[in-house]
């Protein structure tokens, strides 16, 4: 069929015509031959029937009178018909009465050619093995007295048939040739316009020349087709024009879009680069975190319930095992039966885990054992986090074995230190006691020496020369100085040694007493800037502080007109008192030194100073939780400050006072 489809229309038309013709001719020829064959057969049967009937009629008498010779003679007449092979007359009993054979060779062989009776009582014919057997009953007086049968070959029929067939075939061939000739001429009527249309269509499709038009040649369907084709071309041509315009517009738009897309693309490329960067950063971070996780100095592991789910390398190092040996086990597998505080490890661990799961991050110390059982100390932080719908516990474990050791050492050291301090305090107290006792004990002999020297000066002053008197005076002075020194030491050592009860002290009164005690020179003016408060303190000590500070100011005064101002300030916690003078001032480098015992800035002989006063002040103030310091400029005098903590009741009192003021 494909072969048919690929044929040109011309050949198709010719083929169709020819095939139709051939089929028609063949059918006609075949029917003709078939009909001819039938007719010939019938003809033959008819001819033979006539003959057999004649014979049957002719031999009636012969049979009736049993005249074989006559019957044989009658049959012998068949010789004229060459196609008759044999003939036979049977009598009523079915026995051969007379016979005839074309190829007579004589004797019994004749019987071979004898047509046998088909059926005695029935006339008829049958074609058998290319032979026609025909049988006729011989009827005499309504009674069948025998049969005549003739066997004929079909030669005459075949001869006729052959001749007719040959003629038919010859006619068929001629008809076929005629059909071919006619169809190859006539096909042009249909194929030519189609072919020309095809040619035009080819030109149009190859050269894109839509101005070409097909030539109309007929008014049939092909003509319509050509018209339609031309119309179509017309439309295409018009549309082509529109299309060209549209194309130009489109090109412009495409360019614009391309530019846009290029822009977007570039942006996209940038974005991709940024994203890649971000991804690589992310990857790096991930790696970093992973590295961090694995290389962390702390063991980090994740638990699901009370079983290890994952861990870092440090964990494995810490527990001295492989990953397979730890994953799936519980932390108390890696713990001693009990913790240092005596609790069961498993019990305690579960408690911690449950607390962590309840949302309370845990931080505690723990004793673990390595896989081989070696114990070590750790600090564990437990946190929970949710992962894939399940609560997990993250544990960060720090090996604190070293720290623990250090702590123990430190503790030991501390304990030693405490012992030492204790010893030291004890010895200090002993020393203080010793100093006090020594000073106390020294006073009596000193007084005796002073009294004795006085007595010498009084009793033997006239007996002594000037040098002697001078030396005695010096002795008295030195003894007095010694006595002052001892008093000072006593004073100093007494600070903190004897604690007396605190009382309310009216400081204004106290200052007045102190000034009276000191008896300042006339050129000194001591002013209390504003009225001083009444505070709860040990009166003797407070008096000592002010006395020492004022004495000190007076002692070192170098101005002809000395001035001392006493002032105070306060806040919630403490009082701040100040004693300012207009003396020589102190270099800043001595600000600390002046508060140390036996330190004086002036030469010993210039001023009568023991170097204990400021150190006593410092000792007292610090004993009561205050602070003492100095602010000074050379030539512009010095201001000594000290603070004195308020007692709780005082603060309360103040509040009440404040409230009273508010009410009042």
């Amino acid at each position: 069929m494909r072969f048919l489809q690929n044929m040109t229309i011309k050949h198709k038309l010719i083929s169709i015509t020819l095939v139709t013709c051939v089929i028609a001719l063949l059918m006609a020829g075949a029917s003709f031959i078939a009909w001819e064959w039938m007719a010939l057969r019938q003809n033959m049967v008819r001819n033979l029937s006539t003959q057999v009937e004649m014979i049957a009629d002719n031999c009636k008498a012969a049979i009736a009178f049993g005249d074989v010779k006559d019957a044989t003679e009658i049959l012998g007449a068949l010789k004229a018909e060459s196609s008759i092979v044999s003939a036979c007359i049977h009598n009523k009993k079915g026995e051969v009465f007379a016979s005839y054979s074309r190829d007579k060779t004589g004797g019994a062989t004749d019987l071979v050619y004898m047509p046998r009776p088909i059926e005695l009582k029935k006339s008829g014919y049958v074609f058998e093995n290319g032979l026609l057997n025909i049988l006729q009953n011989i009827v005499l007086n309504g009674e069948t007295i025998g049969t005549v049968s003739i066997r004929s070959d079909l030669t005459p029929m075949y001869v006729m048939l052959k001749r007719n067939t040959v003629t038919t075939i010859a006619v068929l061939l001629l008809a076929f040739l005629a059909a071919y000739f006619v169809s190859s001429r006539l096909q042009a009527i249909i194929s030519r316009p189609i072919l020309s249309l095809a040619t035009v269509a080819k030109i149009v499709s190859e050269q894109k020349d839509y101005s070409t038009r097909a030539q109309k040649q007929s008014n049939d369907e092909v003509g319509l087709l050509i018209n339609a084709f031309n119309e179509m071309l017309e439309q295409i041509q018009q549309r082509d024009l529109v299309l060209v315009n549209t194309n130009e517009e489109l090109e412009v738009r495409v360019k614009e879009r391309t530019a846009e897309i290029t822009g977007v693309n570039e942006q996209l490329t940038k974005e991709i680069a940024v994203r890649k960067q971000a991804e690589s950063t992310l990857r790096e971070n991930e790696e970093k975190y992973h590295t961090l996780f694995d290389t962390a100095n702390d063991a980090i592991f994740v638990m699901k319930g009370d079983k290890f789910a994952d861990c870092n390398i440090r964990t494995l190092e810490m527990f001295g095992c492989t990953k397979e040996q730890i994953i799936g086990h519980s932390p108390y597998r890696f713990s001693p039966p009990t913790q240092p505080d005596g609790r069961n490890s498993q019990e305690k661990a579960l408690e911690k885990i449950n607390a962590a799961l309840a949302g309370q991050p845990q931080f505690f110390e723990w004793t673990h054992v390595k896989y081989d059982g070696t114990p070590f100390y750790v600090e564990i932080g437990l946190n929970t986090f949710e992962l894939k719908g399940g609560m997990h516990i993250q544990a960060i474990v720090r090996d604190i074995t070293e720290r623990k050791k250090a702590e123990e050492e430190l503790e030991n050291l501390n304990r030693e230190l405490e012992d030492t301090v204790e010893k030291l305090t004890l010895s200090n107290r002993e020393l203080q006691d010793f100093a006090h006792i020594t000073a106390h004990d020294l006073k009596a002999p000193l007084r005796a020496i002073g009294t004795l020297a006085d007595w010498i000066s009084t009793d033997y002053g006239d007996k002594l020369d000037e040098t002697g008197r001078q030396q005695v005076r010096l002795l008295v002075k030195r003894a007095e100085r010694m006595s002052g020194l001892v008093d000072s030491i006593l004073q100093y050592s007494e600070v903190g040694r004897v604690v007396k009860e605190k009382t309310k002290v009216e400081l204004n009164e106290l200052i007045k007493d102190v000034i009276l005690d000191i008896g300042p020179p006339d050129n000194m003016e001591i002013t209390v800037i504003k009225e001083l408060p009444t505070i709860l303190c040990e009166k003797t000590r407070m008096r000592q502080v002010f006395q020492n500070l004022l004495s000190n100011a007076i002692k070192y005064m170098d101005k002809p007109k000395g001035r001392i101002d006493i002032d105070f300030g306060e806040n919630d916690e403490f009082w701040k008192f100040s004693v300012a003078d207009n003396g020589p001032g102190i270099e800043a480098k001595y600000f600390e030194k002046i508060f140390k015992i036996f330190q004086t800035l002036a030469p010993r002989d210039e001023l009568e100073s023991t170097g204990i006063g400021l150190s006593v002040v410092k000792k007292i103030v610090e004993m009561y939780g205050g602070r003492v310091w100095v602010e000074s400029e050379i030539g512009n005098g010095s201001t000594f400050f000290f603070t004195w903590p308020k007692e709780e009741s005082e603060a309360a009192n103040n509040d009440i006072k404040l409230e009273a003021n508010l009410v009042g």
């Binding site: 002719n58 008498a61 012969a62 009736a64 009178f65 049993g66 010779k69 009993k93 005499l140 007086n141």
Partner: protein, 216 residues
């Protein structure tokens, strides 16, 4: 001997083809001969056309007359059961022509009547015993349309129509067309073909002469 048997067989076959022969008959040459002759008599009926007036009444039987000493005996009887063209066959026996004439002498009218009865037969077989009266018998039925059958030499010469002859122990017959014509009978050519001798139209003139079939 072999040939003889063969011929006999053929004869028997031919006879039996037309007439069933009862088995009870003695199987002698004579009886066989008359069996065949009886069958022939019957077969003649089918190849001979009688004048119309002779066979006008289809209800009347066909009469086969036998005159003289009957040589057939029972052999002829089966013919009665075999109608020809729907007509029954009747066998009528006449003692002798002499006795018929005698009966006529006594009573002229009766004799005439009896002789007339001969003329009513379709076939009249004249037995050998009547050979002396052949001419007279033939004369008496000459114009009555009777197929006269004899078995005597010269029967045809005295005006007989069919005469049985024996040749090679085989029953044959001779036919005189002239006598048949005189009797108003038409004999079919098929029968004529089988005749051993046919005497043509005018035996006396002899113009046509007699045709004699050579017998093998």
């Amino acid at each position: 001997m072999r040939i003889k048997i063969h011929i006999l067989m053929v004869l028997t076959a031919a006879f039996s083809a037309t007439l069933a022969v009862p088995e009870v008959y003695a199987d002698t040459a004579s009886s066989r001969e008359y069996q065949i002759k009886a069958a022939f008599l019957y077969n003649f009926l089918q190849f001979v056309d009688w004048p119309k007036e002779k066979i006008a009444d289809a209800n009347k039987p066909i009469i086969i007359g036998i005159i003289g000493d009957d040589p057939f005996g029972n052999v002829i009887e089966p013919l009665k059961d075999k109608p020809v063209e729907g007509r029954k066959i009747v066998i009528q026996r006449f003692k002798s022509f002499e006795s018929l004439k005698k009966a006529g002498e006594n009573d002229a009218a009766g004799a005439k009547q009896n002789i007339k009865a001969l003329g009513e037969c379709h076939v009249l077989f004249i037995c050998a015993s009547e050979n002396k009266n052949l001419r007279e018998i033939v004369e008496s039925v000459k114009n009555s349309g009777v197929l006269t059958v004899g078995e005597a030499e010269g029967f045809l010469d005295v005006g007989g129509i069919v005469n049985f002859v024996m040749a090679d122990e085989k029953v044959g017959f001779e036919i005189s067309i002239a006598s048949a014509k005189h009797a108003g009978l038409e004999i079919r050519s098929k029968l004529l073909r089988l005749a051993k001798k046919v005497i043509q139209e005018d035996a006396a003139s002899g113009i046509l002469g007699e045709e004699k079939r050579d017998s093998a």
